[in-house]
Amino acid sequence: MADSASGSADRSVQVKLVLLGEAAVGKSSVVLRFVSNEFQPNKEPTIGAAFLTQKCRLEDRVLRYEIWDTAGQERFHSLAPMYYRNAQAAVVVYDVTKASSLEKAKTWVKELQRQANPNIVIALAGNKIDLVQPSPSPPSTPGSPEPEDEADDATATPGENAGVEAGEGENLRQVPRDEAEAYAQEAGLLFFETSAKTGEGIVEIFTEIAKKIPIDQILASTRGGAGRPGAPGARAGNAQQTGGVNLEENNAKKDGCAC
């Protein structure tokens, strides 16, 4: 069953991270890309919240992200505090092709800043940028019959898919990068534009969060609970199979970070 605690576990730090955002902006897809480097066109909607883990290396430290991927539908909102309590980091996701999703993201940020852990590190991620970039990779002929692959994830409605093919690049964009970035700056958030489909910007989010998190504090506070990192069963998540991500590799190409 669970692999027992190894030596490295002593230095691994658990970071609780929560994903929030409007329904169907691609929260689960962002996590899936990060955790198993996959992209699934049809993901079941998250009920309550899904839990995944991923280990990362940052310099000489090993971080273990415990990721709570929450349901996006408005009525699940009242359950969210259960998941973001005690979280050290949050990724608030919006969809660059949907202006209203940024508004929802802002309300999440407000809520986190008032209700969550006061030291929480918040990142704002504008997802689905693959939809607004002139696709550099295999140029898909307009009107090619593969709608499912066009959209960032399956949650895009058929209507949106159609739009992708019709509209070229930037005109699908409803949230200008400047606007979101300015907001992030003002609110003190990390800022990224990402695509879970192509993988762009995904690892960077988690790298920058890792850098910003007061790791020593966490270590100090968790050291008390001896044996905690080695809790049986705690590390057999499906995430482990893919192995850890070396965050340092990505340091070079880190994206605009507002900190």
């Binding site: 049809n42 909607p45 009920i47 839990f51 809520e111």
Partner: protein
């Protein structure tokens, strides 16, 4: 932003009748009532002993027989061994049996040929009455033609095919007359799910489909099926080992009772779809997003056939239940049941799940989910204290894992084959199953309700080692993945080895957690309900305030008070439900981007304003010698409506919380000049900077309305002066045609033409001290943010007494009580009613000593300032310079008479301020004045009113004496007791 829902307040504990209906899986009254008229037939229950068949295949069971037209139901005494729910139309024949003396027995022949005997063990007259009622009910059903409907209906049921195909050799092959039908039905198409075409999940061999089918065939043959199923202990046992795939859908329908809905509403599913064709809503958009994400691994949901069915079922549900609409997790449920049943069957089953079995789970506030999570936590605390303590210690919340178990009935938590078996039990035994399993899960694993409790139990050991949420989730995930494994792999006994972990889970669930019963859950829900409602409401309050675009100049606390007032208003006067957008209108997606938001209409606004503005309510202080209370009613006046549209800056005909906050901000922080301007703008309908003559009149009426309960004539005088001055200045300042003489009469201005601008208005207002002081401070202070008295959450205290008290303390009864005490008060002459003034500055009676006519038409300049004795504010107000008006109203106080009044009317203890105000109000009681009154208001009124008031007091005195003596000693005693009695809260 956000919706404000008061729906949780409307919750009513199910009545005893409803509980009975719930128990027998019958549609609740309210639901039956939709569209068709329920025939008002009498219900009755009676003790009875049930025997099945001539050969007595089953033991006789004592229990209770219920006549609940159009159903006849029975439950054994323990309420679980035996029960049935028979639509009356499936009863073909009723005979009174000739038996030994003193025994009253009925023999019922049912549609499927079974014969049951019920022996009525009550007294003879009771039994006779029951029979009479039964006969009437049966007749009514016959007239409705329901008997004929049965024949067509049963053809849609797979069980008919199953039984028919098992050979006609059986002795009671579907009864005498039904023979023909049986052969028909084997040819007819029965309803089935996607599984028939896309295969059912699981290996049929491993599931032992064949032998299960055989057992069921036997059972259904003698115990009836679909509409006439009699549930004996054997039935429950068979369900617990798992239903055969082909029969599963129908059995779910039968066990959950959704079959009765389908039977009662033929064709409704198609009708709903047809009526709403092409309609889009938030729900349909959300459904669309999730269609491809519902059990995507099952092949049917990779095809248009499956997706289409799923879409139709979810949409039909959302059209029929607009309040609930669509909630994620419902897609998973619907997808799962569609494997086993047709769209129509799934539609009705979904309705039963969402409304009856898991009430409130999928509602916009998800209060049912939150409540049951709390209940589950409490059950774990009680049944598994060790685990509970450990979880508390390491700060792990059970719900992080258990919430999806409950919400999606384990379907995406454990392998589907196992989840379906839990669902079998869930439909058969009710929601407690979830709690039992969940508990056993955390026992050895974390348990579900039954199942949940069981799950927790089974995993107990390991659970005690987990340190955080993540560990908990992982442990559960692993356990679920291993459900097919042997529970005792080490055992030497091959039979023990063959027991899977899943079987062990069910065993623990139903054996060890049998203590979790329907009653337990009902009681626990009752216990935590108000806690959950409070927390949901305070959560939505916090987010509503957080989401305001601006708080303006209010603090968060003040905004909270505004929210409270709004919330109360919505409780009292719910805004109309936003209708679905008309078909084919606004289907382009991006136009409707705005998120739904609660907006209130004029009616609700009136209630809201009455909470905040003292002049927007009418408060009568009633004292009747037993109690003193304030009866508050909501005022109606054009001013209030005007304010509503004034604040409706986006012209939607409805106000949001933000509109209210901004609107109040515009008036509550104003100084003198701002208030004058605000009031001017409020009445300047076309916003051209001018009031018309009509608008000046309206404005005066608004002032009179605000002043309607003020004591004394000071305000009345002020308004009347205002009017005369307004027209005088107004005329004087009108632009004159060039060359005309100043003395000429100005050209007449139509009453709807621009007439007076702000500057002039200001001048007129400042010419009067009372108005000036009104606009300087008093007006703003008529808007008061005060804590709204805590509204009782429909409390559901357990126990008989709680319920009893609730009944007594209900609103209606309180009204009756008040009426009674009023009556007694009137009899003993202690009934008094006063209006509380909106401003309440003049708490004493003040009458101008002498008043000169204000409408002479000449402008009188007078150096004498009006002096308002006994009002603090006026003393500080500097006289507004040259524009000082003529009014030299000196007000004096008739202290003496006031004092004597107080002593003459004996009050029950009441705050002294009220007393004074009330006294004065009584003396001055007058009908709300209209403008006309103001015009001819002069000296007369002084004397007149005084005289009239004296008369009133005399009358009261006389009343008091005359009736005081009329009381008998006993009545007096009673009255005394009543006085000392605690007031009804």
């Amino acid at each position: 932003m956000a919706m404000i829902s008061t729906q949780l307040r409307n919750f009513r504990e199910p009545t005893k009748d409803q509980l009975t209906q719930l128990f027998f899986s019958l549609p609740l009254d309210a639901q039956v009532g939709v569209g068709e008229k329920v025939n008002e037939q009498e219900r009755m229950d009676i003790s009875a002993v049930l025997t099945l068949g001539q050969d007595a295949e089953e033991d006789p069971y004592p229990g209770k027989l219920y006549l609940l037209p159009p159903y006849l139901t029975f439950s054994s005494l323990d309420r679980k061994s035996v029960r049935f729910t028979l639509p009356l139309c499936t009863i073909r024949r009723v005979e009174r049996l000739n038996a030994r003396a003193g025994i009253y027995a009925l023999s019922l022949s049912l549609w499927h040929g079974m014969k049951i005997v019920v022996q009525l063990t009550s007294l003879r007259p009771t039994a006779d009455l029951f029979c009479a009622l039964l006969r009437d009910a049966l007749k009514a059903e016959l007239q409705r033609g329901q008997m004929k409907a049965v024949k067509g209906f049963v053809k849609t049921c797979y069980s008919e095919v199953l039984v028919a195909s098992s050979g006609d050799d059986s002795k009671d092959s579907a009864a005498s007359k039904a023979d023909g039908d049986v052969s028909d039905s084997s040819e007819s198409m029965y309803l089935g799910g996607l599984g028939l075409k896309f295969k059912f999940p699981g290996d049929p061999k491993k599931l032992r489909e064949a032998s299960k089918s055989k057992l069921w065939t036997t059972y259904l043959k003698c115990h009836g099926r679909n509409l006439t199923l009699l549930r004996y202990p054997q039935c429950t046992r068979l369900v617990q080992v798992g239903l055969p795939n082909r029969l599963r859908g129908e059995m779910w329908e039968t066990l959950s009772g959704s079959i009765y809905l389908r039977f009662a509403h033929p064709g409704m599913y198609e009708r709903i779809l047809k009526d709403n064709e092409g309609r889009t809503s938030t729900s349909t958009e959300e459904i669309e997003k999730d269609l491809h994400r519902s059990l995507p691994e099952y092949s049917a949901y990779q095809s248009e056939e499956g997706i289409g069915a799923l879409r139709r079922v979810l949409q039909a549900y959302s059209f029929r239940n607009t309040e609930t609409g669509y909630c994620q997790a419902m897609n998973i449920l619907a997808a799962a049941i569609l494997i086993y049943m047709s769209e129509e069957q799934a539609f009705w089953l979904l309705e039963v799940i969402c409304d009856r079995l898991l009430p409130g789970y999928y509602s916009p506030s998800m209060h049912g989910t939150l409540l049951d999570q709390r209940v589950f936590e409490s059950l774990v605390h009680r049944c598994l204290p060790v685990i509970y303590d450990h979880f508390t210690q390491v700060d792990v919340q059970l719900s992080v894992a258990s919430l999806p178990w409950f919400l999606s009935l384990f379907i995406n938590s454990m392998p589907m084959v196992f989840a379906f078996r839990i669902i079998d039990c869930f439909f058969c035994m009710g929601p407690k199953v979830l709690f039992q399993v969940a508990s056993s899960l955390i026992t050895t694993y974390p348990p579900l309700t039954h199942i949940q409790t069981a799950i927790l139990k089974i995993n107990g050991e390991k659970l005690l080692q987990i340190q955080d949420d993540g560990g908990f989730i992982h442990l559960m995930r692993e356990y679920f993945a291993s459900l097919g494994d042997s529970a005792h792999p080490e055992s030497s006994d091959p039979r023990a080895r063959a027991i899977t972990r899943f079987q062990e889970l069910l065993l623990v669930s139903f054996r060890e957690f049998a203590v979790i019963t329907d009653d337990t859950i009902l009681n626990e829900r009752r216990k935590f309900r108000s806690e959950i409602v409070t927390s949901i409401e305070s959560f939505s309050k916090r987010s509503a305030i957080r989401n305001l675009k601006t708080l303006e100049r209010f603090t968060k606390e003040q905004a909270g008070l505004i929210y409270d007032a709004l919330f109360k208003a919505i409780c009292v006067e719910p805004p109309p439900v936003a209708p679905l957008p008309p078909v084919a209108l606004l289907t382009t997606k991006d136009t409707g981007e705005e998120r739904p938001e609660t907006r209130i209409g004029l009616k609700t606004f009136r209630v809201f304003l009455s909470e905040i503005a003292t002049w927007a309510r009418t408060e009568k202080i009633v004292s009747n010698g037993f109690q003193q209370r304030v009866d508050r009613t909501i005022a109606e006046h054009e001013l209030i409506d005007r304010l509503f549209y004034f604040w409706d800056t986006s012209y939607r005909g409805a106000l949001s919380l933000q509109d209210l906050v901004s609107g109040l901000n515009g008036v509550m922080f104003n100084d003198l000049m701002e208030n004058i301007e605000w009031f001017f703008n409020l009445h300047d309908k076309n916003k051209d900077g001018y009031l018309t003559k009509d608008e000046v009149l309206t404005l005066s009426e608004s002032l009179l309305f605000i002043f309607r309960f003020e004591i004394g004539d000071a305000y009345l005088g002020a308004v009347s002066r205002f009017m005369s001055n307004a027209f005088e200045y107004g005329d004087a300042l009108l632009p004159r045609p060039d060359g005309s003489d100043l003395d000429d009469e100005p050209p007449p201005v139509e009453s709807n033409q621009p007439y007076m601008n702000l500057a002039t208005f200001r001048m007129v207002v400042l010419a009067d001290e009372i108005l000036e002081s009104f606009f300087e401070t008093d007006f703003s202070s008529t808007f008061r943010l005060e804590p709204v008295p805590i509204m009782e959450i429909p409390n559901s205290n357990t126990g008989l007494l709680g319920g009893l008290w609730q009944n007594i303390a209900s609103d209606d009864n309180r009204k009756i009580f008040q009426k009674v005490t009023d009556e007694i008060g009137k009899t003993i002459g202690k009934h008094q009613v006063f209006h509380r003034p909106a401003i309440g500055k003049f708490t004493h009676l003040e009458e101008p000593k002498a008043r000169e006519s204000l409408l002479t038409g000449t402008m009188r300049r007078s150096a004498s300032k009006s002096s308002l004795t006994a009002t603090e504010s006026s003393s500080g107000v500097a006289a507004p310079s040259a524009l000082q008006t003529s009014s030299s109203s000196t007000l004096t106080v008739d202290q003496q008479s006031l004092a004597s009044d107080i002593s003459s009317s004996e009050f029950s203890p009441m705050p002294s301020i009220f007393q004074a105000a009330a006294n004065a109000a009584a003396m001055m009681e007058r009908t709300p004045f209209a403008i006309d009154d103001a015009k001819d208001d002069d000296e007369e009124s002084d004397d007149g009113s005084e005289i009239a008031d004296d008369g009133v007091m005399d009358e009261v005195d006389a009343f008091l004496e005359a009736h005081d003596s009329g009381l008998t000693e006993a009545e007096r005693e009673l009255a005394k007791d009543l006085i000392n009695a605690e007031p009804v809260k």
